[in-house]
Structure formats: C-alpha cells, structure tokens
Symmetry: C2
Subunit: 147 residues, 2 copies
DNA sequence: ATATTAAAAGATATTAGGATCTTAATATAT
DNA sequence: ATATATTAAGATCCTAATATCTTTTAATAT
C-alpha cells in the first residue's frame, strides 16, 4: 500500500463528505447507502462511522428512519479534524525518515523539504470544511466513488 | 503507523545515505555497522540491503573485508529511485483519498491540492542524489540516527 | 582449510483491514 | 401500552499485509 492516509482514514474522509452532501436537506443516511455511495466494505465503514460519531464529527440516530447526518455545527469541522481523529498528528508532525528525534536543531537530511510538504498538507486540510464539497459533487464536477 | 513512506522505505533511504557516506573513501560497510549507524533492526536492514543490491542501488561483496558500498555510478541515483524500488509509484501517482479512478477528468474533491503535494514530493526526491548528503552529515549539520 | 561476510529463504510476530454476530434504541402499528 | 421492524452501537473474530527474527548457503580473502 502506502499513501498519505491509512485506508481507514481515506474511507472516513469520503464517508463524512458523502454524508454531509446527502444529509444537507435534513434527511439521514443509512450505513448501506454510505457503503454503496463511497465504495467501501459495509461493516468496516460502520465501525468507522461509529468512531466519528463518538467524536462528534458526524451525528447519528437509531431506530426506523434513523441514520447518519452532519448537523450545521459539525459541518464547519475541517478535514484536518477527521485526519487527526483517525490517523493522529503524524502526518502533520512526523519526520519523513521516521526519526523520533528529528527537529530543527537535529534535522534529518530531508527535514526542510518535508517541512514544506507537511505545511502544505496541513493548510489544505485545515482550510477545507466538511460542508464545502457538496456543490461540486452535486454538479458532477468531483467524485468520491469509483464507478 | 502512517507516514509518507513504509518503515522499510524509511530504513532503506537512511541506509543508502549512510552507506554512501561511510564508503566514500573506498571502504566497505558491514551490516552490523549499518544497523548501528541508523538505528535499525539488524536482520531487517540486511534483507532491505539485499533487495537494494539486487536492484543495483548499492553494491556489495561477500567474504572477509566484504560489505556494502555505493560506487560512483550508483551515487548519482536519486532518493526517488529508492522510493520507487521499495514502495512503488503510489506516493507519486496515487489519489489521496484512495480512488483508483481518480484523474483529471474524474477528480476526487482534493485532487488539485494533492497534485501539488505529490509534485513537490516528486521534485524533492528526484533532485536529491544519494551522494549529496555526506558533507552535512560529516559536519554534524544533519542526522540519520536517533541518539 | 578456515574465518568472515553477504545472500537467500523461511518462520514468527505484530498490526491493520475487514467480517460476523449480538445488543440497544426508537418509530410505528396494533 | 406492547410488539415488531428498523437501524446504529458494540464486541469479537478472522485474514492479509507488514515488520522482524532465525537458519542455512555461497562467496572470498587469508
């Protein structure tokens, strides 16, 4: 594998964006719909949504007509909040060569290059709110599933 | 875990830089010395060095006074070559949200942001030759091990 | 011949990804 | 009120990938 985020985190981001889009009008979205909507294993995404719900990055209600949704407060959370909740701070803070002691005063050979990359990553995720992708998705200008 | 590269790849980069530095004067570096020099598990780094040697990113010789070294030709390989050999192209090409079908014409919501990050990553690694870190390491201006 | 060293292959351990099953909550019909 | 259907929450388990360790084999300088 190997990419910027764990698989769990990739699914989490896509799921939150999807639920935010679909629940914009007030309705709730079931697990099956989420799994189908973002091409993820149903039971795996269920577990991820649970965790996100516990951390109040999305909301849920049980029972008939229940499901997941993103309320107006949660809509202003950022993608950085999701990444932090699932993968932690490493992508924003960690050394590219895996050195725990890497720092400004004891830098690895790539310290400054990676600093730029991490900064760009942080800016991108921190400035992207959960709610801001709806329009482009609705217009078919961007996609969060394979087919 | 989760970072830009796999643990294997982090060790590989550090090991190659280390061997390049230590073998600059013509001598060869044993596995134990590499493991100690970059703080890696000895047997694990042995396997990684094997693979790098097979791909001619470093050189080796068996027997007494044998060991690993980087010849003048291999010294001009780049860190991007190491990353490609170990982790493949994904860090340079893959979608940040894990979508195989993500592309210019069917972009994920973060496609353009991630493109910038990947480009920066590629430029950094492609322009960094294996040999270029010796001086800073020798001067104690950068570090490749924990303590 | 012997000691030294990497190559090769395989075994084991750990972690992450994914599946299964049970429990709890709640809307709705009776 | 009660039963039932629907839905998420939670726990547990299985599987696959990754990381690490062990053992054996092959090369080579002396």
């Amino acid at each position: 594998m190997q990419m910027f985020f764990s698989k769990t985190c990739e699914y989490a981001i896509r799921a939150v964006i999807f639920v935010a889009q679909k629940s914009e009008g007030g309705r709730k979205v079931g697990i099956k719909e989420v799994a189908a909507g973002i091409d993820s294993p149903e039971h795996f995404i269920a577990k991820i949504l649970q965790e996100l719900s516990k951390r109040e990055l999305i909301q849920s209600s049980k029972g008939p007509n229940g499901g997941f949704y993103v309320d107006s407060i949660a809509r202003s959370n950022t993608l950085a909040d999701i990444v932090r909740a699932i993968d932690g701070e490493k992508i924003f803070k960690g050394c590219g060569l895996g050195l725990k002691s890497c720092s400004e005063t004891k830098p690895c050979p790539l310290h400054n290059d990676f600093k730029e990359i991490r900064t760009k990553m942080h800016r991108t995720l921190q400035s992207a709110t959960i709610g801001e992708f709806n329009e482009n998705l609705n217009l078919g200008l961007s996609y969060i599933k394979e087919r």
